[in-house]
């Protein structure tokens, strides 16, 4: 299974021995819950599966691992800027064709009664804007396209 954490791919060879899963010197077992044994110490991990991710709680940490499905390619070098959550477009601060610099505010979104400014992650050119002021957007909706160098 391909997983990523905050956009970073995770990997490692997991082998299976009956009911045991092994990664390096760590062993996992699954019954009603998931048990992880490290250096002879067996500890419980809480796990849950949402639509797009595995969630794991272990030793006071909560980790969300996004499931990376086949057939898609990340576009780290540019591409779409998506709405982090459902909301309403309060203001569009740029125009198609405009050059923007990293950190520049592109759009203001209202969600959960707060304003959120969508910033340019890198220098580049705005090649498309998909919403207008007042539009409702769903979480994950592509707001605008940014062509970076």
């Amino acid at each position: 299974m391909e997983l990523s954490y905050l956009g970073e791919d995770l990997s490692g060879t997991i082998t299976r021995d009956g009911q045991l899963f092994i990664l390096g010197n760590m062993v996992a077992e699954v019954d009603n819950t998931v048990w992880i044994t490290i250096d002879g110490r067996r500890q419980q991990a809480h796990v849950a599966l949402s639509k797009d991710a595995w969630w794991v709680h272990f030793a006071g940490h909560t980790i969300r691992l996004d499931i990376v499905e086949a057939g898609f390619t990340a576009s780290d070098s540019g591409g779409g800027l998506t709405a982090p959550m459902p909301g309403k477009v309060l203001e569009v601060l740029v125009k198609t064709g405009q050059n923007v610099t990293e950190g520049q505010a592109l759009l203001v979104l209202e969600a959960m009664k707060m304003e959120h400014r969508i910033l340019a992650p890198k220098d580049g050119e705005i090649t498309a804007i998909h919403f207008n002021t007042g539009d409702q957007v769903t979480g994950g909706a592509l707001l605008l396209d940014l062509q970076t160098e």
Binding site: M1, L3, Y5, E8, I14, S50, F58, R64, D66, M112
Partner: protein, 497 residues
């Protein structure tokens, strides 16, 4: 005694009030918007009525509809909780004019304290010190002019405001126009009132507030302080009592000032007088909240007073039942938000697939949600409040850390880990808690203190669970080939300041 209370609120505070009613032998009426159908507070209430309408204005802020329902179900009183209509004098007036008991202070007291600029003027008259600043009558240009007089850094604040909405910190003149426009717009959206005024930004100060309780028999007492300095986006995240900064002397002075403030507006009920305490030991009136506050449990644990139950008594015309102030031990509340603290506290949504609360000694959970609920963008992202009590501040921090380690929420990003790390931070342990603390400790934003080992465990656990068919109906596997997905989640590592 009250017989049937309608709660004009939702979430954890509605649950809190319903429980107080149950304990007092009073029936409770929950009202809810359609998208709150099945929420915990509707489960707990004796009577549940769905509100018509879609927006907040049409539902939880709809005075007329709410009063009509109250009359329909023969409620004798309305408790507004905090937020929503709790500090709308017109609503209080309409409630009283409908022959219902308003569980709160008089509309006149709400008006005098609710408008922050009026409150500043009233306090000045009562000789309670206020923060240096300028009230502003007018629009954007007047704000900019007032800002120049006050000097930088400064705070723009909505006069009708609260909860950090319509508030902006401005550090230099070139930012003031955009900030003022944003503050005015947010104020208009949140409160229907775009008036904004200017206060000096007192860096390095502590937020200290005094809990007030007053009944209609002429008793006004204070119940000690809460320190709520640790804030993000001007919203409190970590609240404690007592404050390390208050010696009995200063507590006495601030308690007296708070009582004076309350008496200046003939306050009756539960309220809070907020102050800023500077590093030099001066304190300034910030505002008075004429309602129960989010962080009231901290005071309840330290003083042993049940504030909501006292509200019910006072509203019924009884005397408050509190004995002499007896503060014992130390309490801390943290607010659990559905938000991503590693991404500038951006609100998060998701399903609460797993929600396991900590248990054991000294733990109180005031939650509005439970396992299986969905966190939507419709309302404030506060899910629950975790409050601990222990004999000493050190033990309270240790207990809080233990409780946060036990707290398991899967399916929605929360600030649990952020709160957990606060417990261990030397500045928190030393009590060097100021309102600019989060910026001071993490100027470049917070990221979880996570070893690679934890990520490896998570990777192994997820793969083992996946391969075992855990959490799925029937066993199946969706393991695909190597490659990446462009999903909203791929944006999680981006920042939206």
């Amino acid at each position: 005694m009250l017989k049937r209370v309608l709660i004009a609120n939702r979430g954890e505070i509605a649950c809190r009030i319903i429980r107080a009613c149950k304990e007092a032998g009073i029936e409770s009426v929950a009202i809810h918007a359609a998208n709150d159908s099945g929420a915990l507070f509707t489960e707990l209430a004796d009577i549940v009525v769905e509100l018509e309408g879609n927006t907040i204005a049409e539902t939880y802020l709809n005075s007329e509809q709410i009063i009509t329902i109250a009359k329909d179900v023969e409620a004798d009183s309305i408790h507004p909780g905090y937020g929503f209509l709790s500090e709308r004098a017109e609503f209080a007036t309409a409630v009283i004019e409908s022959d219902l008991i308003w569980i709160g202070p008089s509309p006149q007291a709400i008006i005098e304290m609710g408008d922050k600029m009026t409150a500043r003027r009233t306090m000045r008259a009562a000789e309670v010190p206020v923060i240096p600043g300028e009230e502003v009558e007018g629009g954007i240009e007047e704000i900019i002019a007032a800002a120049a007089k006050v000097g930088y850094p400064l705070l723009l604040k909505a006069s009708a405001g609260g909860g950090g909405k319509g508030m902006r910190a401005v550090h230099s003149p070139e930012d003031v126009r955009e900030a003022a426009e944003g503050a005015m717009r947010e104020a208009l959206n949140s409160f229907g009132d775009d008036r904004v005024y200017v206060e000096r930004l007192l860096s390095g100060s502590r937020h200290i507030e005094i809990q007030i309780l007053a009944d209609s028999h002429g008793n006004t007492i204070h119940l000690g302080e809460r320190e709520c300095s640790i804030q993000r986006r001007h919203q409190k995240v970590f609240e404690e009592s007592p404050s390390v900064a208050l010696e009995p002397d200063l507590r006495q002075q601030m308690g007296d000032a708070a009582i004076a403030a309350a008496e200046a507006v003939s306050f009756v009920g539960a309220g809070t007088v907020e102050f800023l305490l500077t590093p030099q030991g001066e304190f300034f009136f910030l505002e008075m909240n004429t309602r129960i506050q989010v962080e009231h449990p901290v005071t309840e644990l330290v003083t042993g007073v049940d504030l909501v139950r006292e509200q019910l008594r006072i509203a019924a015309g009884e005397e408050m039942s509190c004995e002499e102030l007896q503060m014992r031990g130390h309490a801390i509340e943290v607010r659990l938000y559905a938000e991503d603290p590693s991404n500038n506290f951006l609100p998060a949504i998701g399903d609460l697939l797993t929600f396991i609360a900590p248990q054991g000694p000294g733990i109180r959970l005031d939650t509005g949600v439970r396992q299986g609920d969905a966190v939507t963008p419709d309302y404030d992202p506060m899910l629950a409040k975790l409050i601990v009590w222990a004999p000493s501040r050190q033990e309270a921090l240790q207990r809080l850390a233990r409780a946060l380690d036990e707290f398991v929420i899967l399916g929605c990003t929360t600030n649990i880990r952020f709160l957990r790390e606060l417990c261990d931070h030397p500045d928190v342990i030393d009590g060097w808690t100021t309102t600019d603390m989060i910026e001071r400790l993490w100027p470049d934003g917070w990221t979880p203190d996570m070893t690679g080992r934890i990520l490896e465990v998570a990777y192994l656990a997820a793969n083992a669970a996946e391969a075992s068919g855990y959490g799925r109906k029937g066993k199946q596997s969706i393991i695909g080939n190597s490659s990446e997905l462009e999903t909203p989640f791929a944006t999680l590592s981006r920042r939206y300041p």
